[in-house]
């Protein structure tokens, strides 16, 4: 039996402002095993990004329990949360969020600086080759296409050898071909390296190319489908 990567029990998140309270997640229970490739789907405002942010230790839950690779982020201070983020989790965003003043290789090297890992010099280069950008190492973000930018972002997310890769609408800014390429890359990483991947997406076709689709609506799990391949 595979160990759990993520365990969420009655996970609830409420965003409060002086004007209103928005319930983003309503006591959802989710268990994701290590090595699973999961798509979180649902309409805008369903709670997909909120779920990823909680799992990625970027946000704090309102109530319930959450375990990430056996750790309970609620018990940790900000310093420990950043340690978990850098050691266990890789993040990929819809808008890539690469640093414009750094070239592709330097962008991928960036998390190594924060991990104080100055020795692992070959991994960023190898990862960029792995995502098909071995010839674009010294190109700056404004010299790369949308698909290439996301590949750099994926290489950056993988450079510290995370156990979970979280991707929030990673293909939202891409054409079909590039989007398929990114999902093929995810599939490859999942199969060959056993990486746990959770992708929030609107794209039904790509969502259904994963192992499992969790469909959220209005902060609740509407459907949890394991897909037979």
């Amino acid at each position: 039996m595979r160990v759990l990567a993520i365990r969420a029990d009655k996970l609830k998140k409420i965003y409060s402002s002086i004007y209103e309270k928005i319930v983003a997640l309503r006591e959802i229970d989710i268990k994701i095993k290590k090595g699973e490739f999961v798509a979180i789907m649902g309409p805008s405002g369903a709670g997909k990004t909120t779920f990823l942010n909680l799992v990625g230790c970027l946000d704090i839950l309102t109530s319930g329990n959450l375990e990430i690779m056996g750790y309970n982020p609620v018990e940790f201070n900000e310093g420990k949360l950043s340690r978990i983020r850098i050691e266990k989790i890789g993040f990929v965003f819809e808008d890539f969020f690469l640093i414009s003043s750094l070239n592709a290789l330097e962008n991928v090297q960036l998390p190594l600086i924060f991990a104080r890992n100055y020795k692992n010099n070959n991994r960023p280069r190898a990862l960029l080759k792995r995502v098909g950008l071995g010839h674009r190492l010294t190109h700056f973000p404004n010299e790369l296409s949308g698909g290439e930018l996301q590949r750099v972002a994926i290489a950056r997310a993988l450079v510290n050898n995370p156990q979970i890769l979280l991707a929030d609408e990673p293909t939202g800014n891409m054409d079909t071909k590039n989007a398929q390429g990114i999902f093929d890359l995810f599939r490859n990483l999942n199969r060959k390296e056993g990486l746990t991947i959770i992708v929030a997406t609107h794209n039904v076709r790509l969502g259904y190319s994963t192992d499992r689709v969790i469909y959220l609506n209005d902060g609740e799990i509407e459907k949890d489908e394991r897909l037979v391949k």
Binding site: R85, F97, P111, I113
Partner: protein
Amino acid sequence: MKFFILAYKNLKRRKSRSFLTIGGVAVAVAVLVCLLGFNAGYQEALTSDVDKMGYQVIVTAKGCPYEAATMILSGEAGLRFMDEDIYNQITSDPDIDKITPLLAQLTYDPEKQGGRGGFTNYLGIEKSYIELKPNVKFKSGGWFSGDNANEAIMGYEAAESEQKSVGDNISIPDKNITLTVVGTFERTATQEDGTVFLPLKTTQRIFDVEGKLTGIGIKLKQLENISEFEERLYPIASIQVISMNQVKGTILNLVNSAKILIMSVAFIAIFVAIIGVINTILMSVLERTQEIGIVKAIGASRLDIFKLIWMETLIICTFGGIFGSIVAIFGGNLVELLVRNVMPYAPGGKLLLITPELLLFSFLGVIIIGIISGLYPAFKAASMRPIEVIRSGE
């Protein structure tokens, strides 16, 4: 790639803004270095000037003692006349080690400086003058052949600028007299370099001031006995005794008072530079809010962000410190030239003394300023919550 390179690349993104901020810091550093260097240099140059004078005490006709002292220090004429008898009267005082009579005169020569005109200082002296001045040495030639000879010894610069050497003749405008150069002095780095020395009697004859002096230079056996010496001279109503140490102290006090005022201007420049640095870094933090959030999302801790922003501030201040020091070293001569033109009396030698210790002091000062001014922007950046800043950019 390390923190430093990352911080450097961040600053390179807004080149002109970073450059201008570095410029602001550099100006503040240059001003500070020049001011502190001027203070040390002026003190050293004045002390050197006074020491090179050879005499610790001067006796002049009654008047403003400081005006008289600066006139003698700067080699200017214009002093009131006193009777030569006074010299004969005090020369046997028991406290006097060495004594020399002085008669300074000034003439305008329209032919000087290639026809542009200029003043020439003449100083009537006796042989005791050389005995009082340890740094005055002959470069060529020797002493006058007689007390009333029409001969001249030229200071180093006077001889160089007039292209005169031993055996050449010089003339004093409007006096219809020709003097033969019998000697030239070596460079002393004092006002004496530009002076033409004549025998005392010759000077009195040529300028028609027989039996008159403009000053008496005295070296006492014991400087501590100056009060007793002054008391003994007190009955001579027409003269005053000036201690060069007192003059030096008074001039330095005046310079120090001016320094306080100028230093406050320098501190305003530094304060403005600090505000500039804080503004630049804060703007850069606010512009990069989302980026800071992303960097935190990929694992940077609060301390990492704090370090990064702080390092950017330090880079600005370090470059500002380096450029400011370079500007001070190379622009110091220009400042010295300006100061010399503005000040009524400036001692010879280098007025601006920029030492490695001074540069190090100013450099460390600017680094401390950098550390302080980086605190707030760094703290602000480090306090950003990743989720909020990422969302704010969506």
